[in-house]
């Protein structure tokens, strides 16, 4: 793909994301219409008179046509006004701003672990396809997918954090060092369930690269050892997994929601589960919006990366 073609691809892909974002906004807005119970009744309490209820409906804009309500909702979203929590004490946008870095750090550390675990096991498995190590890794990976992430987190808490005292039993840190320490065990629990997916893809990529002509040519030219692995095997084996990037990030994000509760990490996922437990509508709606936009962005970045790395992708 030429430089200009790439530019056009990225532009086209950006434009495609706009209608998708609007549909998602509409769906998130529509949650209010689906949730059981009258919003005005929830604000006013069960003993409110009909007149009070009507006044609250007008105040909330619920007497206006639905499309106008949606336009107003869009306006509020653009200005970052997502309402307050059910207790009224905190703005939802503040909650999101404080949770986002926690979830992002957790995702970053998990990604590093996932790549390390998957890379090491894939190299080991691909050394002799169908050999003992390959079969063993395959079996462990197959059963590893069925181990619940939150349970693994609990086993790590009981088996590592409590006996050694090297990691916090839950919660977050306030310096880079304590933050990293707090993220290690949850990230480990998270990556164990995601690594098998990446491992399978990497392994077949490595096996294929080893069978290729350029690999044989490099070998014949005297390239040996780690240089051969790095330059001629890994670099080519890494292309197919790049197309998995968006899917893997989504898997990690999904798992993070649960694992944040296990370890009490004050991220977006913990806010989501707590809001679902307390039936806090504004928080759920705001977080759903953030997660939706994140998913659109992740898929956009994933597609662009594939296009940049793989010249075969059509513009």
């Amino acid at each position: 793909m030429t430089g200009r073609g790439r530019f056009r691809f990225v532009g086209k892909r950006l434009l495609q994301a706009i209608p998708l974002t609007l549909v998602l906004l509409l769906l998130v807005f529509a949650m209010l219409k689906v949730v059981p119970g009258d919003p005005a009744l929830q604000v006013a309490g069960p003993r409110a008179s009909a007149a009070t209820l009507e006044a609250i409906r007008v105040h909330l804009g619920l007497d206006q046509p639905v499309w106008l309500q949606f336009v107003h909702y869009l306006g509020r979203v653009v200005t970052g006004d997502l309402g307050t929590t059910a207790t009224g004490s905190t703005k939802v946008s503040t909650l999101i701003a404080s949770g986002t870095p926690v979830t992002l750090v957790l995702l970053a550390v998990s990604t590093v672990f996932t790549v390390l675990i998957a890379g090491a096991t894939a190299l080991l498995a691909a050394r002799r396809p169908d050999g003992l190590a390959d079969r063993l890794i395959n079996v462990v990976a197959a059963f590893g997918v069925g181990v619940p992430t939150f349970w693994l987190g609990i086993v790590l808490l009981a088996g590592v954090a409590l006996p050694t005292g090297a990691f916090p039993i839950g919660g977050w840190g306030d310096t880079p060092a304590t933050v990293l320490r707090a993220a290690v065990l949850p990230a480990l629990a998270l990556s164990v369930s995601v690594a098998p997916v990446l491992m399978a893809s990497l392994r077949s990529g490595i096996v294929e690269a080893r069978r290729s002509e350029y690999h044989a040519a490099a070998q014949a030219a005297g390239v040996r050892g780690w240089t051969l692995t790095r330059r001629f095997v890994l670099r080519n084996a890494a292309v197919p997994p790049v197309s998995l990037l968006a899917a893997l990030t989504t898997l990690l994000l999904s798992g993070a929601v649960v694992v944040e509760s296990t370890f009490g990490l004050p991220g977006l996922g913990l806010s989501l589960t707590q809001a679902a437990q307390n039936r806090d509508f504004n928080v759920i709606q705001g977080l759903t919006l953030v997660f939706s936009l994140a998913v659109v962005a992740v898929n956009l970045v994933g597609d662009v990366l594939v296009a940049l790395l793989d010249p075969r992708v059509e513009v």
């Binding site: 998602l24 169908d130 197959a142 997918v145 069925g146 989504t250 798992g255 929601v257 589960t273």
Partner: protein
């Protein structure tokens, strides 16, 4: 919901009837389900009996999995919970499979706007992190087993729809399907009798392994307090109940997870066996 793009453990299909793993897995699940109805007599402990004099007993010959904060036998409770987890996990895989097979067949056979609409919807759902979708749906519907089933159905039909649509798109151009159409058979008959049977085996294998996924969704939801509520007993809920006592009484939380892993192994065996049988 993100499907595991390439499920590990699936790449090599060895020769053989597949009966041995299929039978082993099925017997394991059947035994577990049967034990859930006879948990009291089997363990010698009433799973619901609280005995505050016997709190937090570690695993022994008397209490295989120890006792919990109310002195209840954890092993008996793990067995009883199988009666909740196994049927719900099974339904959580079967319902989306049925919906996905129907929608996928329609999308592949009818094409046109219907097919496009179904596949766009599938894209949208597939891009969304599964736990977030589940939690939001359960929030909208209220916690419980029924909400879990709706959430699983909304999220998991996508994989089946894609799979079946792919096969149907390929088959509908083949001569024998064209011949059936030319012979004047109705669309329903062609679809049901001539196209769908060829798309089903793959979907069945996937549904079998999907039970593990459904179980982990159910357990996670209950763990987060959004699934099965007390007095119902469920493995994820048991794990959550035991977590505050992790420091000195690890077994209350850890033991129920072993049951989830056992089901995972059994289901993997069944799926592997089915795959071998159907590919012969």
């Amino acid at each position: 919901m993100v499907a595991l793009v390439q499920v590990p453990g699936r790449r090599r299909v060895r020769r053989g009837s597949g009966s041995a793993p299929l039978l082993t897995g099925a017997v394991l699940l059947a035994l577990l389900l049967a034990a859930s109805f006879a948990a009291g007599p089997l363990t010698g402990h009433d799973p619901a009996l609280t005995d505050l004099t016997a709190r937090f007993r570690p695993p022994t010959a008397e209490h295989w999995f120890g006792t919990d904060q109310l002195g209840r036998d954890v092993f008996a409770r793990v067995l009883v919970a199988a009666g909740t987890d196994l049927p719900l996990a099974l339904l959580g895989a079967v319902i989306p499979a049925l919906i996905g097979i129907v929608l996928g067949a329609l999308a592949g056979y009818a094409r046109g706007w219907l097919g496009t609409a179904v596949m766009r919807l599938a894209d949208l759902i597939q891009a969304f992190p599964s736990y977030i979708l589940l939690i939001v749906l359960v929030f909208l519907l209220g916690p419980g087993g029924g909400s879990f089933l709706v959430g699983a159905a909304v999220g998991a039909w996508v994989t089946y729809a894609r799979l079946v649509r792919g096969v149907v798109l390929r088959l509908r151009e083949l001569d024998y399907v064209r011949a059936a159409q030319a012979a004047g058979l109705g669309h329903t008959r062609v679809l049901l009798r001539h196209v769908l049977p060829n798309a089903l085996p793959q979907a069945v294998v996937y549904a079998a392994s999907d039970i593990v996924l459904a179980l982990s969704y159910l357990a996670a939801l209950s763990y987060l307090g959004l699934g099965i509520q007390a007095p119902g007993i469920e493995w994820g809920q048991m794990i959550a109940e035991g977590q505050p006592f992790l420091r000195n009484q690890w077994w209350v939380s850890v033991m129920p997870g072993l049951a989830i892993i056992l089901v995972g192994v059994a289901v993997r065996l069944i799926a592997g066996g089915l795959e071998r049988r159907l590919q012969r």
